[in-house]
């Protein structure tokens, strides 16, 4: 019972942190997915230079830990005189992350479109642009939906790393409360519940979409 009362007291402070977390996650998705689409086209491009650039951006975004990219933006770049607010650095790092991950999912989605669709488009005399935007992309995107939802959840959880550069998001709010009264167990458990309250239903919805998609193909 005591826990519940204390939790009720902590909740308002945590909620403002959660708002910041959701905001960062939202930005990283809204900006990251279109970039991801561009990257997915780049890595399939005929031009070697374009393809290499795309690959490099994707591989770094996926291969380096999000925390490292975060530090690079927040602690690294200022040494060259390029300084960001902590929240901007967090957004930029996560945008890179989400663009890289989403591009791989979109690319896989588009490559899963049956060969026959390319051949049929070519036989009909559709231009490359039309073939891509009107035939391949709509089908590929459909199968990419569950994967993209998964990346969105991953991004939301990734916002917790912004704690490390003192962005006042959910994790940081929890830490601040904890360092006032040292009730670390309660406060981090509550923070965990806040994250889970969003991630878990989102996962279930993703699984539902996955199953629906599997049934319809």
């Amino acid at each position: 019972m005591n826990w519940l009362i204390e939790w009720a007291g902590y909740l308002p402070q945590l909620m403002s942190g959660l708002g910041v977390s959701l905001m960062i996650a939202g930005v990283s998705i809204v900006a990251g997915y279109p970039l991801g689409l561009v990257l997915s086209v780049m890595v399939q491009h005929r031009n070697l230079a374009v393809r290499t650039l795309g690959l490099a951006v994707v591989e770094i975004g996926r291969g380096a830990p999000a925390l490292v990219i975060l530090y690079l933006f927040y602690y690294g770049l200022p040494k060259f005189g390029i300084a960001f607010e902590s929240i901007t650095a967090a957004c930029l790092a996560l945008i890179w992350n989400s663009a890289a991950y989403s591009s791989e999912i979109m690319r896989a989605g588009m490559q899963s479109v049956a060969r026959g669709q390319h051949e049929a488009s070519a036989a009909l005399g559709l231009s490359r642009g039309h073939t891509f935007f009107r035939v391949i992309m709509p089908q590929g995107m459909r199968s990419a939906i569950p994967g993209l939802m998964g990346v969105a959840i991953q991004m939301f959880q990734g916002t917790s790393l912004a704690y490390a550069i003192a962005v006042p998001e959910l994790m940081k709010s929890a830490y601040n409360i904890g360092s006032q009264d040292f009730n670390y167990l309660q406060i981090f458990a509550l923070a965990g519940i806040c994250y889970a309250a969003i991630s878990m239903p989102a996962t279930w919805i993703t699984v539902y979409f996955e199953k629906r998609l599997a049934r319809h193909t």
Binding site: V68, A164, M171
Partner: protein, 214 residues
């Protein structure tokens, strides 16, 4: 000391964290995966809830919870202990889900054939389903290992002296342009380290496809 050797100082700890958590996960996920595929609905739902809860909470929260929140008598986790246990538990949940997917992707006919032959449930599971499931999921397991390698960097936030922690320390002592170097180097190092695993995953993928289907 230059940036690269500073980063390298953290390499052993990064590897220890990654491999310890991986070992915990590989073994611990087995009973959980069996529970996830259990025909008993209570067992199945309890395991499902555990997996979804563990995966629904960011790793950094688990690490802080273990490091700062757990105190039983005089026992408290040291940073490395908290990191290994935290990453290990998260691995258990993720790998159990991978195992379960593998078990489910074994065609139904395999179960039916085993039933029709009169094989016992245990024999069917261990000798028919598991070997096929393992071949199917071994590339995903390798991919998860590369994810775990990156996630081990989060241990730096609870002061475990792995690669990112060492990079931070170096950068703090070098306010000049040189200070960006450790971040670049450590990023590259993670990518380089995951290359052999990614390569293994790809060749496993090809080999396992052949082993099962050809």
């Amino acid at each position: 000391m230059d940036a690269f050797s500073a980063v390298l100082q953290g390499l052993p700890m990064t590897i220890v964290l990654t491999l310890s958590a991986f070992a915990i996960g590989i073994v611990g996920a087995v009973p959980l995966a069996v529970g996830l595929s259990s025909s008993n609905i209570v067992v199945r739902l309890a395991c499902r809830l555990f997996v979804d809860l563990v995966r629904g909470v960011p790793i950094i929260v688990w690490l802080f919870l273990l490091k700062f929140g757990i105190q039983v008598g005089t026992f408290k986790f040291n940073p490395v202990g908290a990191a290994i246990v935290g990453l290990g538990v998260v691995s258990i949940a993720y790998l159990a889900e991978i195992y379960r997917g593998g078990l489910e992707s074994v065609p139904r006919g395999q179960n039916e054939a085993a039933d029709a032959l009169g094989l016992s449930r245990g024999t069917t599971f261990l000798r028919v389903l598991v070997p096929q499931a393992f071949r199917i999921v071994s590339p995903s397991i390798a991919t998860y290992l590369t994810g775990l390698l990156k996630d081990s960097s989060i241990a730096s936030t609870i002061i475990v002296a792995e690669m990112v922690f060492q990079s931070q320390a170096f950068a703090r002592q070098h306010p000049t342009m040189e200070g960006i170097l450790p971040y670049v180097l450590v990023g590259i190092l993670y990518i380089v380290l995951s290359l052999p695993v990614a390569y293994l995953s790809r060749s496993l993928d090809a080999r396992m496809r052949k082993a099962v289907y050809a």
